[in-house]
Symmetry: C2
Subunit: 302 residues, 2 copies
Amino acid sequence: MEYLFEHITGFHVFDEKGNHKKTYNNKEEINYDNYNTNITEELYQKILLFLKKESYLKEMYIKNIYLTRKDIKKSVYEDNLIIQSIRIIDDLNKVINHIAKRLREWYELHNPEFSKTCPDNERFVKIIIDNNKKELLEKINIDYEVSMGCELKEEDITIIKILAKEIERLIELKDIQKEYIEKKMNNICPNLLSIAGPLIGAKLIEHAGSLKHLSELPGSTIQLLGAEKALFRHIKSGAKCPKYGVLLNHPYVRDSPEKRKGKSARILADKISIAVKVDYFKGEFIADYLKEQLEKKKKDIK
Amino acid sequence: MEYLFEHITGFHVFDEKGNHKKTYNNKEEINYDNYNTNITEELYQKILLFLKKESYLKEMYIKNIYLTRKDIKKSVYEDNLIIQSIRIIDDLNKVINHIAKRLREWYELHNPEFSKTCPDNERFVKIIIDNNKKELLEKINIDYEVSMGCELKEEDITIIKILAKEIERLIELKDIQKEYIEKKMNNICPNLLSIAGPLIGAKLIEHAGSLKHLSELPGSTIQLLGAEKALFRHIKSGAKCPKYGVLLNHPYVRDSPEKRKGKSARILADKISIAVKVDYFKGEFIADYLKEQLEKKKKDIK
């Protein structure tokens, strides 16, 4: 009876004394009935000595790299893409606010009165694209002649509007990213998507590092994801313990009375923790049931 | 003879005893030959008392606001617009780099090998829009199978390309802003534009606050504009005095040998100082002559 030894460099056949007989490269060619795969300790030592030959070492090195590359290739999952996308959304938010502030500063040379009445950046950008100064001043009942803004030439207004349109496109891009996240989450974590929504759900995955890791976290940790700074301050210097992190923006917590926000966050985090576990192990869609429970608990704590 | 007193509320006519006779609202209605405008100290006191009446005070208040508004309106000059535009360019540079880094991070999941070979962000963005992974790997002679990047679905690649196209548009917007600055500077400071170029010229105006203020600065101050931090460190703690600020990016300084950069900056700043003074007082176009001198001096210090 000959022995079959499976190795990174191929399938090697040895006799009972440890002499090398042949090598298969493909599993398919092997008739397993002809070989014994239970290798004794004694034989194992001999085989290792045989494989220590330089030619095999080199081959092993090459195949090892090949397999590692393949593993790295496979190590990117959909949750990595979700994390990238939510980071882009965060960046876009910052960028939009920053450039919109500049736009405002510029536009205020021309029409300071209107700018003051419209604090929301995204709305501001859309309105000044579609309306000229006269129309905007009429809306807020200010006489055109009274305005302290200077007259601008056509070319100046054009370049301001080009900038405003760019900001508008960045805002649209944010929506496109959000849709993308929703699509991805629908594939890999429909329960999390349904309970937490695309943005908060993606943020939780980002903070945990992966869907797998998020599924391993207890509710109490999920409750504080995104509040790491405050948590460590609490541990280090005894400041107040934070009650919520990312979850604060969830309507279930945000719309709670101030005193019950912590409690709501805890309940929500518990349900999210369940949802993610079910998602990770490809379970059923149970989000509707969990949501029902959330509503019930809300009434209870009131 | 009656006396005419010009005041913010109108043109008032008094007799020699200080009794008010009439008021003109328009300069055009007045026949100056009929009136004496040299008001004696004694009469002046009486007139002031008359104007202290409440009705005049109120009118004065309203007219004062009106005139102030008008002045504010007129206080925006073309150099304000240049300053806004150069600030936007600065912002865009930051934003483009920031988002491009994110794009890279995302794209590297798919094709890490190519990303490493192309350090320039703007080029990177353009190339990945036009080429797929296979084409890019061929360019750098890497086998597609060997790549460590994962396979992405069509939808994933689409969203990455949408982001890349957005960055491309931001890069274009920078060029549009640059053209705008050039156009503006051509109107108000052609000499500065010709010597310093649009970006450095605009940066100098920005640091000085206005073209007027820039025209009042000596060459030695212009030389250090943009190096304020280093300058104050020098004054406060005796660190090395900076030799150039914004001007470092000018080819005349940048392309000088390391040891002569300070000298080149000084010479360039001198000529710029002349150019701006000429521009501010609407002088001739002398930039070509100044540039000639710069070239001459370059040869002298070599």
